[in-house]
Every structure is written in structure tokens, then in C-alpha cells.
């Protein structure tokens, strides 16, 4: 049986909040704005907990990178059924410039350290719509343009979760209270041998261009004419 699943949980601006760009265009407003666990990370946690309930894995560890506040997000994962948490402390300037490259190095180092057989993350990129464990292999069904593809992969493996993988559970009141007793270990990126220097520099953040008003045309000929005018055809 696979021993350990690592689940990445990211604290992000709540999906229902209207995002606003800072007046100095250096980023988006985060102070005082409602934050929650990335909905795709919720799906990842749910999948990990289900694997544990099916006794296909022994332990679920929730990981988050960021300042003190990310512990709230880890606690939510614990309340959903994760066994323990790891808080990778990153704050201030380092947190502002923390990008996918640095996070993936951190997760790779942790996966090695924790001897995780499986890492489940919220999607971007290839994503699973069904995950089962078959002996020492993982069977993943993923949605592709043409339909569904079934693949078998060796462990350790990284799987990302799609919307259709599951519906995350609500934390129950008893589980929220039990989560208080679960441990969250703190670790610094340096201890994992990860260099946080960013290869990217954010020059400017802007809102997407306002949608321009369209033009109504009467006939197909008019449409073709307008498209030619605009150099589109």
C-alpha cells in the first residue's frame, strides 16, 4: 500500500471576490481581502482523503508555502481529513516573488524528504478526472480533447486534479475540532536546499482591457466588408 500522499494547498484570493489592481500597478490588492483555499486544491485534498478512506494510502500530508496566514489553509485541509500539515515559511519579498519554479522545487524536496509516493495538486496542465491505486501503480483517467485516456503510472508520481474529479466535502464540526490537535510542522526553504531567487521580475500589473463596444451589421456582405476593412481577412 502506498504510504504517503502529499497534497499542495494554496491560499488564494477567494474565487467570489472581485479582484482589483493596486493603484501603483505593482500587483493586486490582497490586504483585508477574503482568502480561501484554491478550489482545485480542495478537490486535491478530497481525492487524497478518499484514497485514505479506501485504505489505499496510509497518510495524507497537506503542504502550503507562504506567510503565517497559510496555516489557516492547512487547518482547513486537516479539518477535511488530512493527517498533518507542513508549513513552508516564505514571507515578505520572497513571498511576493514566489513562483511556480520555486514552489515545484520545494514540493520536490519535500516529496523526497517525506518519501511521498504520490503528490496531488490542484490543476493546471494535465489533469485527472479519476484516480485509483492498482498494486504499485496508479491508474489515472484524464480528459483529453478526444475523450478519456486511461494511463498507468509508476509511483512516486504527481497527479493534478480537475473539476470533475470529485466534489469536496464540507468539514464537519467534530473534524474541525479534531484538526486543532493535528500537527503543523514549520520548515524553511533553506532547510530543504531550495533557492528562492526568482528568475522573473514583475514589471507591471494591469486590468484586462475593457471590452470594446461591438458594431452591428445588417447582412453577411456587410460583415465580410467590415472584416476586410479591419484587415482580418
Amino acid at each position: 500500500m502506498a504510504a504517503r500522499v502529499l497534497v499542495g494547498v494554496k491560499r488564494v484570493i477567494d474565487y467570489a471576490v472581485k479582484i482589483r489592481v493596486k493603484p501603483d500597478n505593482t500587483g493586486v490588492v490582497t490586504d483585508g481581502v477574503k482568502h480561501s483555499m484554491n478550489p482545485f486544491c480542495e478537490i486535491a485534498v478530497e481525492e487524497a482523503v478518499r484514497l485514505k478512506e479506501k485504505k489505499l494510502v496510509k497518510e495524507v500530508v497537506a503542504v502550503s508555502c507562504g506567510p503565517q496566514q497559510v496555516q489557516e489553509t492547512i487547518r482547513t485541509a486537516l479539518a477535511m481529513g488530512a493527517d498533518r500539515g507542513i508549513h513552508v515559511e516564505v514571507s515578505g519579498k520572497d513571498y511576493d516573488t514566489l513562483g511556480p519554479l520555486q514552489v515545484s522545487k520545494i514540493l520536490a524536496a519535500l516529496a523526497k524528504k517525506e518519501e511521498a509516493s504520490l503528490v496531488i495538486l490542484g490543476k493546471q496542465g494535465t489533469f485527472a478526472s479519476e484516480v485509483t491505486i492498482d498494486g504499485d501503480k496508479i491508474k489515472v483517467i484524464r480528459e483529453i480533447d478526444g475523450g478519456l485516456e486511461t494511463i498507468k503510472i509508476n509511483m512516486p508520481a504527481v497527479v493534478t486534479a480537475d473539476l470533475r474529479l470529485n466534489t469536496p466535502r464540507y468539514a464537519t464540526l467534530p473534524n474541525i475540532m479534531k484538526a486543532k490537535k493535528k500537527k503543523i510542522a514549520s520548515v524553511k526553504p533553506g532547510e530543504l536546499g531550495v533557492d528562492l531567487t526568482s528568475r522573473l521580475e514583475v514589471l507591471r500589473v494591469e486590468e484586462p482591457a475593457q471590452r470594446q463596444a461591438g458594431v452591428k451589421v445588417e447582412t453577411v456582405e456587410d460583415l465580410v466588408g467590415k472584416l476586410k476593412e479591419a484587415g482580418r481577412i
Partner: protein, 381 residues
């Protein structure tokens, strides 16, 4: 703003309750109201999360939380449907009464099923002839061997006819409060029947019926506490019940303020959105201020109750009086801000107004709240 001063754990409870309200209740609240549906399945889902016996002890299936935790949870749930949340709070009150005053046999028999909402409960105090003057109730319980035989009727019972477990205040002794005992009566007991389903202005997701006892025999072992303790048990239940009902009003007002704010930002008249009108800005500010004030009163009372402070009863009465009045006014003003749309059933704000109107009346009218507070002030030495 509803999370200020809460512990991390309370914020978690609140989050679950808000999410449940938004996903499982809000999409259905209009349907439940218009079709008068008692949403059993949704309430059972809520019970699975621990909302069936929030302040009942864990050893009999409850969540063992504090009165403040409970208030926070009901306030959040109420944003999804005030009527259904109010019923859930009544159910919780009954479960607590059995947990606190019942024998171990009674607790083990009823509490687990109530906490999971496998069974539903109703609180039976009011009668056609005794509302505010509750202690003058007439439902008689005559001791015959090892049974009490009940005769009489209760009025306006929330859940009546659809629920399984009835917590009934009845007269086993002489006149006045000291002659009253509290017994648990199960649906299906011979001699227990129900009146017609009442047609109400709001609270339509819960059926309301008269509960009728005709030579209804109830085992003496179903009594909570001792003979003559029933009125005391009923009032202790209501202290918490009043905080819960006030919390439901808070949630409705919270939702209504959000709806009003959203409407002001969308609706345009005289060439600009209503949110540019200073009068409406000031009105919204007042509504929000009075909501926060109400919330503080309710939460303060909850803490006093859970700490068993001497001023708890007065504070609970004050909180119920203040919050139910203020929140109704807030919801009503939110409706006004919607203009004609506020009067249409397609818009939720009218349902919040109709649903919480009754909070100023039941669990002790706001006039009775004044009686309790005045008595407390005048007997202070």
C-alpha cells in the same frame, strides 16, 4: 465584519456554515417557501456536519460546542434560509433539554437520533389559552400507575405533525409554574393527534400545527427532571432559544444588507447608480451599524449564558428584544431600497422580511422580554 473577534476555530465553523448556506440552502429557499416544503434531506445533510445537536454533549452524539459557537453557526446558516435555520435551532433546543434534564436512558434513547436528525423534535409550551402567560397552561397530566395521561392541546407548534419527538410542558400539580412538568411524547403514541397545517406569512419551510392530547398515556420515565421542574426547564431552554432566534435574525439582516448593497450598485436612476445617492449611502451605513450593534448584543448574551453568569437571563432577553426588532427593520429597509422589485417573490429580500417578522413574537414576545428585563432591574438589590 461578522468574523471580528472570533477564534480561528470559530472562523472555521462559520465558514462551513456560510458555505452550506450558500450551496445547499440559498438556491432552494424560495421553493421551500412557495411550496411549503419541510426540507428533511437538507437538514439531515446539515446534521451530518454536526448541526443537529450543536450544544449537546458528544457522548450522546452532539457537537459539544459553546453558545457563542452556536450563535455564529445559526447566524451564518440563516443567510441561506432563515425559516429552516430557525426550525433547526428549535430542534437543537429540544435535543439540549433532553440531554441536560433527561435520565441517561432517555438521553441515550433520543439524543443520538436527534443529533443525526434521524428524528425531528418539537417544543410544546404554548396553548390556545396561554401564550405570554405560559405558566397558566392547562394541558393536564394525571398520574395513573407508571404513566401520565395527558389531556389538552398545544398551539402553533413548529414542526408539529411532521416531527417525531415532542417535548411537552404539562400540569402534573397545582396552579402556576410550580405545578408544571416536562415530558417527552413520541409520535404514534395513542391519543396524540394534530390540527390542520396553519397558513403563515413566513416560516413556510416548517409546518405549524396544533398538537392534541386525548387520554394520551406517556411513561413516567419520559419525564425530564422532577415533577414541578417543567417550567424551569422550559425557560432554561428558551434562554438559549432566544439567542438562537436572534442569531437567525442577524443572518437574515446580514444577507439583506448584502442584497441591498448589490442592488444599489446596479440600479440606475437619474443618470447614475443608486449607490451615488447620499441618502441611500447614509441609510445603508445606519443599517450596517445597527446590524453590528445587534450582533454584539447577541454574542455577548451567548457568552454570559455559557458562563452561567447571574445577568445571563436579562442579557438573553435584551439581545432577543434588540436584535429581532433591529434586524426586522433592517430587512424591511433593504426591501424598500429594492423599490418595486423588493415586493416581488423573485427577489429574496421579501422572504427574509416575512420570515423574521415572527421572531419578534415567538419564544417570548418582545413585550415579555421587556417584562423579564424590568423585573431583573427592579429586583436588583
Amino acid at each position: 465584519m461578522s468574523s471580528i473577534g472570533l477564534t480561528d476555530e470559530q472562523k472555521e465553523f462559520q465558514k462551513v456554515a456560510f458555505d452550506f448556506a450558500a450551496n445547499e440552502m440559498a438556491p432552494h429557499m424560495a421553493e421551500w417557501d412557495q411550496n411549503e416544503m419541510f426540507p428533511v434531506e437538507t437538514m439531515r445533510k446539515a446534521a451530518q456536519l454536526g448541526f443537529g445537536g450543536i450544544y449537546v454533549q458528544p457522548e450522546v452524539g452532539g457537537s459539544g460546542l459553546s453558545r457563542l459557537d452556536t450563535s455564529i453557526i445559526f447566524e451564518a446558516l440563516s443567510t441561506g434560509c432563515a425559516s429552516t435555520t430557525a426550525y433547526i435551532s428549535i430542534h437543537n433546543m429540544c435535543a439540549w433539554m433532553i440531554d441536560t434534564f433527561g435520565s441517561n436512558e432517555l438521553r441515550e434513547k433520543f439524543c443520538p437520533d436527534l443529533c443525526s436528525m434521524e428524528k425531528f423534535a418539537s417544543y410544546c409550551l404554548t396553548e390556545p389559552g396561554s401564550g405570554s402567560d405560559a405558566a397558566s397552561l392547562l394541558t393536564n397530566a394525571k398520574l395513573q400507575g407508571d404513566h401520565y395521561v395527558l389531556n389538552g392541546s398545544k398551539a402553533f407548534i413548529s414542526g408539529g405533525g411532521d416531527t417525531d419527538v415532542y417535548v411537552v410542558m404539562c400540569r402534573t400539580g397545582g396552579k402556576g409554574p410550580k405545578g408544571i412538568s416536562c415530558v417527552v411524547v413520541e409520535k404514534g403514541t395513542p391519543g396524540l393527534s394534530f390540527g390542520k397545517k396553519e397558513k403563515k406569512v413566513g416560516w413556510n419551510s416548517q409546518p405549524t400545527r396544533a398538537v392534541i392530547f386525548e387520554d394520551c398515556a406517556v411513561p413516567v420515565t419520559n419525564r425530564l427532571g422532577v415533577e414541578g421542574q417543567g417550567f424551569n426547564i422550559a425557560m432554561k431552554g428558551l434562554n438559549g432559544g432566544r439567542i438562537n432566534i436572534a442569531s437567525c435574525s442577524l443572518g437574515a439582516a446580514h444577507a439583506s444588507v448584502q442584497l441591498a448593497r448589490d442592488h444599489l450598485c446596479i440600479r440606475k436612476q437619474f443618470g447614475e447608480t443608486l449607490s451615488n445617492s447620499q441618502f441611500l449611502q447614509f441609510k445603508l451605513a445606519e443599517m450596517a451599524t445597527r446590524l453590528v450593534a445587534s450582533r454584539l448584543m447577541v454574542r455577548q448574551a451567548a457568552v454570559a449564558l455559557q458562563e452561567d453568569r447571574p445577568d445571563a437571563v436579562a442579557l438573553c432577553s435584551m439581545a432577543k428584544l434588540f436584535a429581532t426588532d433591529e434586524c426586522f427593520s433592517i430587512c424591511n429597509q433593504a426591501l424598500q431600497m429594492h423599490g418595486g422589485y423588493g415586493y416581488l417573490k423573485d427577489y429574496a429580500v421579501q422572504q427574509f422580511v416575512r420570515d423574521i417578522r415572527v421572531h419578534q413574537i415567538l419564544e417570548g414576545t418582545n413585550e415579555v422580554m421587556r417584562m423579564i428585563i424590568a423585573r431583573n432591574l427592579l429586583t436588583e438589590s
